[in-house]
Symmetry: C2
Subunit: 191 residues, 2 copies
Amino acid sequence: MIESLKNHILRFVSPSKKEMEDFLNIIESENIPAKHYILKEGHYCNYNHFIVKGCFRSFFINEKGVEKTINFGIEDWWLTDFDSFMNRTQTQLNIQATEDATVLKISKPNLDMVLKSSLEINKYFRIILERVRIADQRRIQYMFNLSGEELYNTFYEYNPEFVQRIPQYMLASYLGFTPEFLSKIRAKKHS
Amino acid sequence: MIESLKNHILRFVSPSKKEMEDFLNIIESENIPAKHYILKEGHYCNYNHFIVKGCFRSFFINEKGVEKTINFGIEDWWLTDFDSFMNRTQTQLNIQATEDATVLKISKPNLDMVLKSSLEINKYFRIILERVRIADQRRIQYMFNLSGEELYNTFYEYNPEFVQRIPQYMLASYLGFTPEFLSKIRAKKHS
């Protein structure tokens, strides 16, 4: 199971055998059944999670009690609430498995310990964050500019695997639609 | 001028004298008059910019020819189009000085050279990107959930200095309003 994280690291950087071992030694694993949570609103986010298997969504609940899905994560993604994880603030987010899932996770003190001295693990997380930044910027640009139909088509183009895996009402929430509006767009696209 | 970058680095990490010198040696400086551009749509983004003085905005122009401001930057911020800078893609963004400005800038090959071996400079950019990630997530959450008036109030609370410095039509564009709507909200808040 740890192999998937090891392989992911080796896609981006080249740690020494010792650097890799020191990092992998502080990783814990956990199985998360579908619908279970790895983070709940009001709690502290104690871990950064690497998804080995399964799919997760992050959402918050707005003042009207409506769930707003703001992120998804699947295999080979890191998932956390960075604000809560880094700054020890209470999270406003919920992170829930949408399928039976397996994660590898690392606590903040353990991660800090490795990042204190490992050049390659610092590089690895810097590179991951650069990729996240690009995705976030693209997302903000799309939210500003695309119509509902264009948003769906763009999401489908970049993430065809998600569209198959996640319940439609979650995807609708992520795109800012009602489920009914999403059904209409899908019917039009796939007819 | 280079002192402001040096001080910023020392706020987050502790490079050796040599690491700091090697990094600062590859930094170039440039004065940018108000309204001039450091990046234009269709070009390649060759630099990451550290703002010593002044204010910038990033915007794209949508299909209807309307400018959409998606980011601002002021003193002590790094500013680039990460997608274009990292992946050598043509940018869709424009980055323009809204005041007379001074930047320090670093090219991709020079930055890569330093990041290859410097632990502390890797840490520095990792930490900067963590902070950017937190801001981007907050922004996405707000765009999903806040009314126009709440968006303005939240922006004002987190960035009071911006509201004074940037032309109102740019702020309106950033918040997704018409300038008229922004005027109404401001009049209400500040009356």
